[in-house]
Amino acid sequence: MASTQVTPTRMELTRLKKKLVTARKGHKLLKDKRDELMRQFLELVRSNMDLRRGVEEGIKRANRNFVMAKASMDEATLNTALMSPKQEIQLEVEEKNVMSVNIPVFNTKTRTQDENDIYSYGFAFTSSDLDGAVKSLSQVLKDMLKLAEVEKACQLMASEIEKTRRRVNALEHVIIPQTQESIKYITMKLDENERSSQVRLMKVKDMMLEDAHKYSERA
């Protein structure tokens, strides 16, 4: 046990007592942090799951549409049609601090406001299936961006929660009990020293009185 390695002095005792107070305070704060992080995480992860299901469904649908479109056109025409996109997305990244976790916030700007600019081709040589496919994909875009933000936040928060939980557990199950143990050990050792010097003094007093008054000879 660690307590056997502590030097039983008053200075050490004061130090340990201070350490215990700090550890308790830290434990309480970290526990609060963990609980709040957990609450926010659970909210976030639910929306993450919903978004992901929606996005995956949307993309799968769009992919089916693209396959249909590809089937009704020859590949060269398709490639030409999609070769030079009109639209361009610009991304801005900000950081938001949630319970000391930095999470990204994505803002997007498209080059043109017109939502019909996703069709990067004239309609003469392409099939209408392609229009539908592109349209269906553009509908999931907004959710895809939201998903990126939420999923990243979830990952970051999950690892922060893991770290915090470890710290809380280390304080609760290791640091605090060990310090208490050491404090107990020192207190007992000091008390023991106190008693032994008390006894020694009483003994010395007895001997001195014996020397002065010679009680044993009188009896």
């Binding site: 993450n48 895809m144 929660i161």
Partner: protein, 106 residues
């Protein structure tokens, strides 16, 4: 000003180009590794990757999990979908809570 990228096999991703997202068709694993490294080091802060390709790049992707950016997000492709995207969400619940209490039976 940053941009968004999609990587995966050509058939799964060519449609994204019309939306203004940069597409990077990938043919083999090694190409994917170099491409991912190149993209994450540069302008791209959101990278969508198809599940089939992501299953070969698990290590590389996990490396970025604890960084703020880039966000690497799995999306289903035309074929070989592994369901890893959903799995990853479950994994993060497991990491945070200790066990998957939310989506365990779904």
């Amino acid at each position: 000003m940053y941009k968004i990228a999609v990587i995966g096999d050509y058939d799964s991703i060519y449609g994204f180009a019309t939306l203004g997202i940069d597409t990077f068709p990938i043919h083999d694993e090694n190409e994917a590794k170099t491409k991912l490294k190149e993209l994450t080091g540069g302008l791209y802060k959101i990278i969508y990757i198809t599940e089939s390709l992501a299953s070969k790049l698990t290590e590389e992707i996990e490396k970025y999990e604890e960084q703020i950016t880039p966000a690497i997000i799995l999306i289903p492709g035309i074929s070989d979908n592994t369901g890893e995207g959903i799995n990853r969400v479950k994994q993060s619940v497991e990491k945070a809570v200790g066990s998957d209490i939310l989506f365990g039976n779904q």
